[in-house]
């Protein structure tokens, strides 16, 4: 039986390396997924931010008192790092407005592995086009959401967290999280109206 998080954290606080490694391997995929969605699907940047979050978490592991679960505490660090990075990027985008949209457009039209598999000539071209358009519309709609609504929606729908966990991660009340989630739902339902048919 694998040890529980609390035990691993205690061992890691005592300086046992294997406990640290176990915590890393337990949460690296999920952390990478959160960072990936929060930093515009840039895999390299997501890896860097995840690494930074782990380092920061283990550096301040001594301050972790166990009031919350380890992973919500760790995700909070990660989300804060990602939000900082996003704000920093936005600030730069504001300065270099003429150059950035081209890159942003490139990122939007960047083919995901799923899309690339759809590019097989054997597939139906109408389906390929339709899926490409859907992918574009989803990314565009998510991008036009306000930061808090987008973060809450991503953590809920894409990363599968509960509302309580999101509230802990963002340091907000559950009611606030629900309110952001409902607004995002209303907006996306309207924006993606054409894509909800069977």
């Amino acid at each position: 039986m694998s040890p529980r998080d609390e035990e691993l954290v205690t061992r890691a606080q005592d300086g046992e390396k294997w406990a640290t490694e176990e915590l890393v391997s337990r949460y690296q995929q999920k952390a990478f997924s959160i960072a990936y969605h929060m930093c515009a699907e840039d895999s390299e940047e997501a890896q860097d931010l995840t690494q930074e979050a782990f380092l920061r978490a283990f550096r301040s592991l001594g301050k972790f008192r166990g009031d919350s679960k380890f992973y919500t505490w760790f995700y909070r660090i990660l989300v804060n790092i990602c939000l900082d990075k996003r704000r920093h990027r936005r600030r730069w985008q504001r300065v270099f407005v003429p150059w950035r949209p081209v890159k942003a457009e490139k990122n939007l039209s960047k083919n995901t592995p799923e899309e690339q598999s759809d590019m097989d000539p054997g597939n139906n071209p109408i389906k390929v086009l339709s899926r490409k358009q859907l992918s574009k519309d989803i990314r565009k709609s998510l991008k036009s959401l306000p930061e808090k609504q987008r973060t809450v929606f991503q953590l809920k729908v894409l990363d599968g967290m509960t509302i309580r966990e999101i509230a802990e991660v963002l340091g907000a009340a559950e009611g606030t999280v629900k309110s952001h989630l409902f607004r995002a739902t209303r907006f996306l339902r309207e924006e993606l109206k054409g894509w909800d048919h069977p």
Binding site: T185, L188, W195, D196, P198
Partner: protein, 189 residues
């Protein structure tokens, strides 16, 4: 047909799997009787499934996961090493010692050149490189230096004047040749 507005939030919570335990039976009863809410629920579930399918995260392959975990371990080791660098020697943090040593070396070198400059004669400076104020100061300095000579020159001039005056009075040696109409000491013209 539109879903019931008074059940909208419960409908969304249901789609997200977050309906509270005590509210669930009432909601399920409503869902059985309301086809609009059922349709809306299905529509949202489909939409979010599509969003999820489009926004999947690439899985970290075992090699990538290992490399990733190794880079985190290396980062932690570096952090520990940096932590050791915070040790102190004579109350000075060890990481500051190279910087302090460099500063001392620079001070010694500058001090050495400063002393050499002070010892070198000031006359060797090229006046052409000075500004007008400095040039005037140099001129004044030269005048002060030559003041003694000027005083001596004044004395010599005074002496010449006195001697000339006595010569004229005594009819002795004159510096200026006598005019043709004047007689010399021997009574010759």
């Amino acid at each position: 047909m539109k879903a019931c507005l008074n059940h909208e939030e419960t409908l969304w919570l249901d789609v997200y799997g977050e309906v509270e335990f005590n509210k669930r039976p009432a909601w399920e009863r409503h869902l059985e009787n309301c086809s609009a809410c059922r349709e809306e629920r299905q529509r949202l579930i489909r939409l979010f499934e599509r969003v999820k399918a489009e926004m999947t995260t690439p899985k970290l392959s075992p090699e990538k996961a290992n490399a990733f975990s190794w880079s985190i371990k290396r980062g932690l080791r570096d952090q520990r090493d940096r932590g050791r660098g915070r040790a102190r020697t004579w109350g000075i943090p060890n990481r500051l010692i190279p910087a302090l040593a460099s500063a001392c070396l620079i001070l010694i070198v500058l001090g050495w050149f400063g002393i050499n400059t002070m010892q070198s004669p000031s006359g060797t400076r090229d006046p052409a490189g000075l500004n007008s104020e400095e040039r005037m100061m140099v001129k004044d300095l030269e005048i002060i230096k030559n003041l003694e000579l000027l005083e001596e020159l004044d004395t010599v001039q005074e002496l010449v004047r006195v001697v000339d005056h006595r010569d004229i009075r005594d009819g002795g040696f004159r510096i200026n040749p006598p005019k043709s109409s004047e007689k010399n000491q021997y009574g010759e013209t």
